[in-house]
């Protein structure tokens, strides 16, 4: 084994990520079906309206559980430090691929950290409101009234975020997808995108 590749994500990390991702996708698409009659056709793709009604909450629950695993694992690493603040202030440069003046990033850059917190927060509220919506005959009306607003609101935020996440991980930063699938990245990739982390793990 040369030093040409590094382990970026452990098996457990990848497993929980993809579990939550698949659940998220199912919940997102079926959520869209339940969101508006215009999108109800989507329910046909995912098993029909009644199935979607039955499975969406479970998908959501598993999404939240898997995310919970990720949260426990990563929450420590996702704390923002002073470099992250600079990074965030200069994130427009990052978007334009201008590296000059950008601080070196650790295992996760500030954008990823923000994504993490955003997804965690919305997942928490999605779960909370989702349970209320799951059992309308039990949940108090006032809770339901808040939930039906909170749930789609969080879902929209979450899905918007995931769209960005998806873009970043596929087209915008080649190599990312491989990292999450196979778990490894090239040293070059690591150096380029997460310099600080590269030095930490490679000891260079």
């Amino acid at each position: 084994m040369t030093t040409k590749s590094l382990e970026r994500f452990s098996f457990a990390e990848r497993a929980s990520h993809w579990t939550s991702a698949l659940c998220f996708l199912y919940a997102a698409f079926t959520g869209l079906a339940l969101w508006s009659p215009r999108m109800f056709w989507l329910s046909g793709v995912f098993g029909g309206g009644e199935t979607v009604r039955a499975w969406h909450p479970w998908a959501g629950l598993f999404f939240a559980l898997a995310l919970g695993v990720m949260f426990r694992r990563w929450a420590g690493q996702m704390q923002l430090d002073s470099d992250d603040e600079i990074w965030l202030a200069k994130s427009h440069l990052y978007a334009q691929h201008i590296e000059a003046g950008m601080p070196e990033t650790g295992r996760f850059n500030a954008g990823q950290k923000m994504m993490f917190w955003l997804q965690s927060a919305s997942a928490f509220f999605l779960l909370l409101s989702g349970v209320v919506i799951w059992f309308p005959e039990v949940a108090p009306r006032s809770a339901r009234l808040i939930a039906i607003l909170l749930h789609p609101l969080c879902a929209a935020v979450s899905m918007g975020g995931i769209m960005v996440h998806f873009y970043m991980s596929t087209l915008a930063v080649p190599g990312s997808m491989g990292a999450m699938i196979r778990g490894r990245v090239s040293t070059g990739w690591a150096k380029s995108h997460h310099g600080k982390w590269f030095r930490e793990v490679s000891g260079r």
């Binding site: 009604r53 978007a95 009306r141 789609p152 918007g160 960005v164 873009y167 915008a172 080649p174 070059g188």
Partner: protein, 266 residues
């Protein structure tokens, strides 16, 4: 020719709490009769259920030593702007017929229960067994065959009347005037202007206090439901579209983020 909007008028001043309408509804809709639990009232059930769509609420009051026992029928109000329909995601599960009847088609219902939250009157009920939502259909089957709804057909005291909405509004106005003449200065019509008018209307002796009858004071589709099904929907749609377009433009302009150290590519 546009269909006549049909309506039901509940003249609470004529209700004697005989519960014929409750049973007529059960009987016509082949609902199973169940046993009740004693709860210190004459009211049949504490609330509507998936198989009990029409409940007389027995409201007891004593004001200044004078008893009153205000009975009011409680069922789907067949709103002109139905909150249930607004909240429903499943096409065809809740339909608003040209005659104004808001009907639930259980074949299309997915049991999400959004209608329960959307309803300002808290009427639809989710069946735990069939996982579908049920409520008064205003006997759309009977009305379709030229018959009056079962509850109205059986009402002995003319507390319930069925007809075109315009006619019933007139009748309600006449009754209100009569009640005022009889000394009920607060008499009035309750027809939910906040939901575009309901096709089930009430004549109340104490119109400024509908809560006395167990009716919500100023029924409106909950603002969260309106926000959810209105601005939020559009904002979210715009945000999704914006994100997607943004990503595309970003890629076209900046392309992918390059990795520098080619030699070390795995």
């Amino acid at each position: 020719m546009p269909a006549t909007t049909v309506a039901k008028l509940v003249d609470t001043s004529l209700c004697i709490g005989c519960k014929a309408c409750e049973v007529a509804c059960q009987e016509w809709n082949d609902q199973e009769f169940t046993l009740g639990v004693f709860n210190n009232t004459y009211q049949t059930q504490p609330d509507l259920t998936p198989s009990f769509w029409n409940l007389i609420k027995f409201n007891e009051h004593v004001d200044d030593g004078v008893n009153s026992w205000l009975m009011a029928k409680y069922q789907c109000m067949h709103c002109a702007d139905p909150g249930c329909l607004k909240a429903c995601p499943a096409p065809g599960a809740i339909v608003q017929l040209p005659n104004g009847i808001v009907d639930f088609k259980q074949d299309n219902c997915i049991g999400c229960g959004y209608c329960i939250t959307g309803c300002p009157f808290d009427v639809p009920r989710l069946s735990p067994t069939s996982k579908k939502v049920y409520k008064c259909s205003l006997c759309s089957d009977r009305v379709g065959a030229g018959m009056t709804p079962a509850c109205i057909r059986t009402c002995p005291t003319n507390c319930l009347t069925f007809g075109s909405r315009t006619d019933l509004v007139q009748l309600a106005e006449i009754r209100t005037a009569e009640l005022k003449e009889d000394g009920f200065k607060d008499a009035g019509i309750y027809d939910g202007p906040g939901v575009g008018g309901t096709n089930v209307m009430y004549v109340l002796k104490h119109a400024s206090e509908p809560e006395k009858y167990g009716l919500p004071k100023d029924p409106r589709i909950p603002w969260t439901v309106s926000l959810w099904k209105g601005p939020l929907k559009w904002a979210a749609n715009a945000a999704f579209l914006g994100t997607a377009v943004g990503a595309m433009l970003h890629y076209l302009k900046f392309g992918p983020k390059e990795t520098h150290d080619d030699d070390e590519v795995a």
